[in-house]
Amino acid sequence: MQLQTKTSRQRRLIGTIAQQEQRLGWYLVLPSAVIILVLIVYPIIYNVFLSAFSFSYAGKRSFAGFDNYIGILSDPEFRSSLGTTSMYVVLTTMGTTLLGIGTALALNKEFPLRGLVRSIVLLPYVAPVISVVFAWQFVFDPVNGIFMDIFHAKLGWFSERMNIVGDPNTAVWAAIIFSIWKNFPFTYLMILARLQAVDKTLYEAAEVDGASDWQQFKAITLPEIYYVVSALILLRVIWNFNKFDEIYLLSSNVKVLSVYTYLKAFTGSMDFGQGATLAVIQFLILIGFILFYVKKVLKW
């Protein structure tokens, strides 16, 4: 009799410990979960809701159904903005990835002052956008900038001093170069970390077999970094597709989707409905790309 009560009490005790764990788990995560629900999930739903309304100048809203979507999709400015965004994303992703791989391979070799050089390479990534953006504006300055000094005055590749950042047709190139410079250190860092984990004996064996540097790269290095590189490409596409600060601060002439949405919603007529619609469309395009990429390239 007494034995029985003891075991049942024990069982109850064990039960309460598991329950306590459950409860504590929820308590601890609750503040974060509430913040994410209220300030990320709810706003996204609210954003979709807003996209179905049109706003008058007085800020009054009226139901518009899919009018905003139809309006945006048939807007030539939207299509050109989509084109600019694609070009920006493709070229910056290619640039950061290639430069990142190259730098990682070079800095993985032994040479004097390697530690210092490795720190220096991180500087562009570390520095605040707002401060380096002005340095780059000066680099591209038509009168005093070093870019025109080299490519116009010294080399003569440009026939006249052009205002690259100021001209809407060329500003995107300045934004691309700036973005590659700013972000390749991240790619480099990740790939270097992966390279350091590669088994050295693989290279020794290849050397014994008489493989050239290129063959070693193709047969050992590339398969080893394939996964991390394809993950980095995906991340880079996501980040650069949503990129705002780096582009807008360099030049508001680069009308990528984020900048277009920002200008639409917060300048001029402050059209929240169309702005929200743009944000939804941008998100859907991104989700579509992610699903495609995960299936085809990462083969999950």
Partner: protein, 320 residues
């Protein structure tokens, strides 16, 4: 023959390293040099100023804004008019001395510091609890929340900008300066929380569970375990995450530009600098000096945590 080939090879390699270093550093060199140049020197492509000019730094940091900026005639006039009280004289003088109208760098710096510090502190505190819960406690719904956090990475700020602006405007917080600062802090907490949760969660999993078990057998509660064991053991990771969040908040422009639009006195550095750049007070040396002063604290912070960060970024995945 072999030796010669090796020599050219290592010379080429050396050149490559030099090119990489140059590519990374030249905008900084540009920035530093321009901040020290006089305006007549801007067109000079050399990075070494013909004559060093530190006026821009002095002006931004409010050093030596002494009587010398007040025109001679005004000073004479003040001395010759005895019926003015000293307070009135001071008011007139300060009009000439104040650089605040041009670019109140120190105030913007303080605003940025306040917002970034509060946001990253709150974010890290919440993330320590949340991440501990993820990595140690079994509870229903854990994997959903964990995946939800990952999913949040995919959203750019632009998707949240319009709804959050409307929500905060409707709540009335944006009507007062204090409320505006508070909403900006909340926004930055939201933006940094997923990163913090993810990075700290990954770190906590590397701490052996047996240490905690031993402590709990000794009679410590879960909560005390977090405070006495988990936090001290992962302090370097916590500092790293804190600085990372600080950086995000320090650099943020988009939300700040919308929320602070009507409060010039509350501007953070990014929006202040952008405003300076498009204003008529834009002078390259002033802009570059302000850029240097904005960049230097952050870069020093980053360099101090560089070792931890490399591991943390690799392990945690990062949001920009």
């Amino acid at each position: 023959m072999v030796k010669k080939r090796n020599f050219t090879k290592s010379a080429l390699f050396f050149l490559l390293i030099l090119a990489i270093v140059f590519f990374c550093l030249f905008p900084f060199a540009q920035m530093l040099s321009l901040s020290l140049k006089y305006s007549w020197d801007w067109g000079n492509p050399s990075w070494i100023p013909s004559k060093v000019n530190v006026e821009a730094y002095k002006e931004l940091l409010n050093i030596g804004s002494s009587l010398k900026q007040v025109p001679e005639s005004v000073r004479q006039l003040l001395e010759e008019s005895p019926d003015l009280t000293s307070a009135q004289k001071q008011a007139i003088l300060s009009k000439y001395q104040s650089t605040g109208d041009v670019f109140p760098f120190l105030r913007y710096f303080a605003n940025s510091l306040l917002v970034a510090f509060l946001a990253s502190f709150i974010s890290v505190c919440l993330a320590i609890l949340g991440a501990y819960s993820f990595s140690r406690l079994a509870f229903r719904g854990r994997s959903i929340i964990q995946r939800g956090v990952l999913f949040v990475y995919m959203f750019g700020g632009i998707l949240l900008l319009i709804p959050l602006y409307r929500i905060f405007a409707a709540s009335g917080l944006l009507a007062t300066p204090a409320g505006t600062i508070a909403s900006l802090v909340i926004i930055y907490v939201v933006q940094t929380l997923p990163v913090s949760l993810y990075m700290l969660g990954n770190y906590f999993r590397t701490i052996p569970y047996s240490i905690e078990e031993a402590a709990m057998i000794e009679g410590l509660s879960r909560f005390k375990v977090i405070i006495r064991i988990i936090i001290p053991l992962s302090i370097s990771a916590i500092i790293t995450v804190f600085i990372y969040c600080f950086m995000i908040a320090w650099n943020e422009y988009m939300f700040a530009s919308i929320f602070l639009k009507t409060y010039k006195g509350l501007y953070t550095l990014p929006i202040g600098l952008k405003t300076l750049f498009v204003s008529k007070n834009a002078i390259w040396d002033r802009i570059m000096a302000a850029s240097m002063l904005t960049a230097v604290p952050v870069m020093i912070l980053f360099m101090t945590i560089q070792k931890n960060l490399t591991g943390g970024l690799a392990a945690g995945g990062v949001k920009e």
